[in-house]
């Protein structure tokens, strides 16, 4: 059932064929019904006309026979009547006609009644309305009816009635009954033939539809398949061009589009590869001279007691700036690696709580930093270098922005996720700032951050690192109410995070304001 639904949705051929069959069937049903009604009516009318004309001549003949008799010569009358009733046996296959002779009600009151029929007919089948009509009119009257025999056999037929006068002025009604057996057989046969031909017609039309639509749809389907392959990255695929009709032109145009797409993409790829190579090369090339500069400045710095105050201060500034430059270079290289999709995850089983404590120790965090961790080890298979980098970034950010009002680091876990929340109660950030928080080189307050020597790439890299783990990094913040950063990681790589052990809106949040960046937004 779902397979059919799927075919209906996905295949024009299937849909058009089904529609064609349904519409053709309906049409043939209507036409067949009308046709069969017309034929039936025609056949019956024909038979009626024939029956009336036959009955008319029979009545005339019988009347003339009767006129030739006299009341006294009973025997002759009887012969006439015998002949009248002798129409053949009901058991013989074909009954041409039956006859019923009934006295009119006036006659019935007198004596010497003749009443009879051929083949044991049930007289009651002649309804009163017909009898009244027959008596009222001098012409022949007719009616469709069911012929019933006393044996129980029933046949559809036509009754044709008239009045007849037996000498001595006795008036009788005479009815000739003509069975419609043959006509019914004929109509039945025609009906069967009609339906057979109808079915064949439907089948043929379905076949033709299938074939014709198939011919049109096949190139379209090919185009769809090739477009899918193109989308999937196989840029070399092309449509076969057949003929110069609309489909041929479609194929031609499609191929031209694919060519131009391929050229554009490869141009962009080249460009982007060149650019990434350039960034990477520049970063690497800068490293050797930077090493020399760094060592030189270190030598100067260590000898600063022997220098005059200006030179000594210069040596201090030099070494600090070189450090900053180096951090920037490292971050830049890391970003270029993400851009080139060259970042590789090297996962080990790590206890996140120990990692947090280690980072906090290294940062020489102030005393008002609190760690809330579960008793159970929060183990996860992560790339420790990257996670440590995220932790260092988030925690040092929090310390820098907390303005001495404390930092709370919380670790929580579920069966498949582990989360880390870093909450501070410092300067926080506004909605507009929150939207740009993870942008490269973006700083909420340039003068502030530059003072601390951040590169402006920290959160951008942290977000990339989190996403590389298929985790999320979300941020909440309000001006002067602090900030809350939540890192959520899957415990095993490759399984995206589905549950968040720590909500990004902190429990002590003044009211709800959420700015978040996660994998879906990139």
């Amino acid at each position: 059932m779902t397979g059919l639904l799927r075919s209906w949705r996905r295949s024009i051929l299937f849909r058009v064929s089904i529609l064609t069959i349904a519409l053709t069937s309906a049409l043939i049903l209507v036409l067949g019904t009308v046709l069969s009604n017309q034929i039936t009516r025609g056949v019956y009318r024909e038979k009626l006309a024939a029956s009336i004309s036959e009955a008319d001549s029979l009545v005339n003949y019988t009347q003339s026979q009767l006129d030739a008799t006299t009341y006294r010569t009973d025997i002759k009358l009887k012969t006439v009547l015998d002949n009248l009733f002798h129409v053949g046996d009901v058991n013989t296959n074909v009954i041409q006609r039956e006859v019923i002779l009934i006295p009119t009600p006036t006659t019935a009151k007198k004596s010497h009644l003749y009443q009879g029929s051929s083949n044991f007919l049930d007289f009651s089948i002649i309804k009163d309305d017909l009898r009244t009509k027959v008596r009222k009119h001098t012409t022949i009257q007719s009616q469709y009816l069911t012929i019933k025999y006393l044996t129980g056999v029933q046949l559809d037929g036509i009754a044709v009635g008239s009045t007849i006068v037996i000498p001595n002025n006795q008036e009788y009604e005479i009815y000739y009954l003509f069975p419609l057996t043959q006509q019914k057989q004929l109509i039945g046969l025609i009906g069967v033939l009609l339906w057979i031909f109808g079915a064949i017609l439907i089948f043929l039309i379905a076949l033709i539809t299938w074939y014709v639509i198939g011919r049109i749809v096949r190139p379209v389907r090919e185009a769809a398949e090739i477009a899918e392959e193109l989308t999937a990255g196989d840029l070399g695929r092309r449509l076969a061009v057949r003929g110069e009709d609309e489909l041929g032109r479609l194929a031609l145009a499609f191929n031209e589009m694919a060519v131009s797409l391929q050229q554009q993409i490869s141009r962009l790829e080249n460009l982007s590869r060149l650019q990434q190579r350039f960034v990477s090369d520049v970063s690497h090339e800068l490293r050797t001279p930077l090493t020399t500069i760094r060592m030189a400045s270190q030598v100067l710095y260590e000898a600063r007691q022997n220098l005059d105050p200006a030179s000594s201060r210069s040596a201090e500034l030099l070494i600090a700036q070189i450090e900053r430059f180096e951090t920037l270079l490292t971050d830049l290289l890391e970003v270029s690696r993400f851009d080139a999709r060259a970042a590789i995850l090297e996962t080990h089983e790590v206890n996140l709580t120990s990692l947090v404590r280690q980072v906090v120790d290294q940062l020489h965090a102030p005393g008002d930093l609190r760690i809330e961790a579960p008793d159970a080890p929060a183990n996860a298979a992560v790339d420790p270098r990257r996670i440590e980098r995220i932790l260092r970034n988030l925690i040092s950010n929090a310390i820098d922005h907390s303005e001495g009002r404390g930092v709370v680091i919380k670790i929580a876990q579920t069966d498949h996720e582990v989360a880390l929340g870093v909450r501070d109660y410092g300067i926080g950030f506004s909605g507009r700032e929150g939207e740009r928080l993870f942008d490269r080189f973006w700083r909420a307050d340039p003068s502030r951050s530059r003072l601390r020597g951040g590169t402006g790439l920290g959160l951008a890299i942290a977000l990339e690192d989190a996403q590389l783990h298929e985790g999320t990094l979300k941020a909440w913040g309000r001006p002067r109410q602090g900030a809350h950063f939540v890192l959520t990681l899957p415990k095993s790589p490759g399984i995206p995070v589905s549950v968040y052990p720590i909500e990004v809106i902190p429990e002590d949040a003044p009211s709800t304001t959420l700015f978040e960046m996660d994998s879906d937004d990139i």
Partner: protein, 232 residues
């Protein structure tokens, strides 16, 4: 004074390295390209080689391999690319440690000193691991009286494991103990050297009996003799 051979094509960097190392109490030989390295190495027999990976002529990896064929001298590589294939290639070619440019000169000096130090702790005379005898005075190990040559780093690594046979060492603790790193998380150093060490001392390196991997944690010395439990 220990002699350090600095192999670097960047003359200014080499000169600067010379200044810094001289100031820290080392003698320095400067070599500008890979082609002349082996002759000078054989002539001067330095105590340590500081080797730039990117060299004109024979590249640093090849130089490293050639030195290792002849000598167990400590080799520290200098590289501009800290996370690439180069590092692993260099370590597999026999380098003991590496420094990523731009490095902190005092960290470089500290690292070189670790590589040059003689084991300071009291040697345990009869240290054994499996069927290997470790002589901490002569810095040699032997199986059935036959000496197996090890680099000083490999020796230190083996001793660190052998001294506490039951203990499981994390890669991080080994980095601290053997390489002198404080908060390092680069576990490639440990992995590559454990592999190299196994290839020298294990009867079947794919089925180690002396240095066992403890999954998800690190390594420990095999407690059993020649027919020990193997990791699976």
């Amino acid at each position: 004074m220990p002699l350090i051979m600095v192999v670097d094509d960047d003359q200014d960097l080499a000169e600067m390295l010379g200044i810094v190392l001289n100031g820290s109490g080392f003698e320095v030989d400067l070599v500008g390209d890979g082609d002349g390295v082996m002759d000078i190495f054989r002539a001067n027999t330095p105590d340590l080689v500081l080797l730039d990976v990117m060299l004109p002529g024979i590249d640093g990896i090849e130089v490293c391999r050639r030195i290792r064929q002849e000598s167990m001298v400590p080799i520290v590589m200098l590289t501009a690319k800290g996370d690439t294939h180069d590092v692993v290639l260099g370590l597999e070619a026999g380098a003991d440690d590496y420094m990523v440019k731009p490095f902190n000169p005092s960290e470089l000096v500290a690292r070189l000193k670790v590589r040059l130090r003689r084991s300071a702790s009291e040697p345990i005379s009869s240290l054994r691991i499996g069927d290997l005898a470790i002589d901490q005075v002569a810095h040699t190990i032997a199986r059935d009286g036959k000496t197996i040559p090890l680099t000083r780093l490999e020796f230190d690594l083996l001793v660190a494991l052998a001294k506490e046979p039951g203990r499981v060492f994390t890669r991080e603790s080994l980095l601290g103990e053997v390489w002198g790193y404080q908060h390092a998380t680069d576990t490639r150093l440990v992995n590559v050297h454990i592999q190299r060490l196994r290839s020298k001392i294990e009867r079947d390196a794919d089925n180690p009996e002396l240095i066992l991997t403890v999954r998800g944690v690190g390594y420990k010395a095999g407690s059993a003799g020649p027919v020990g439990t193997s990791e699976k």
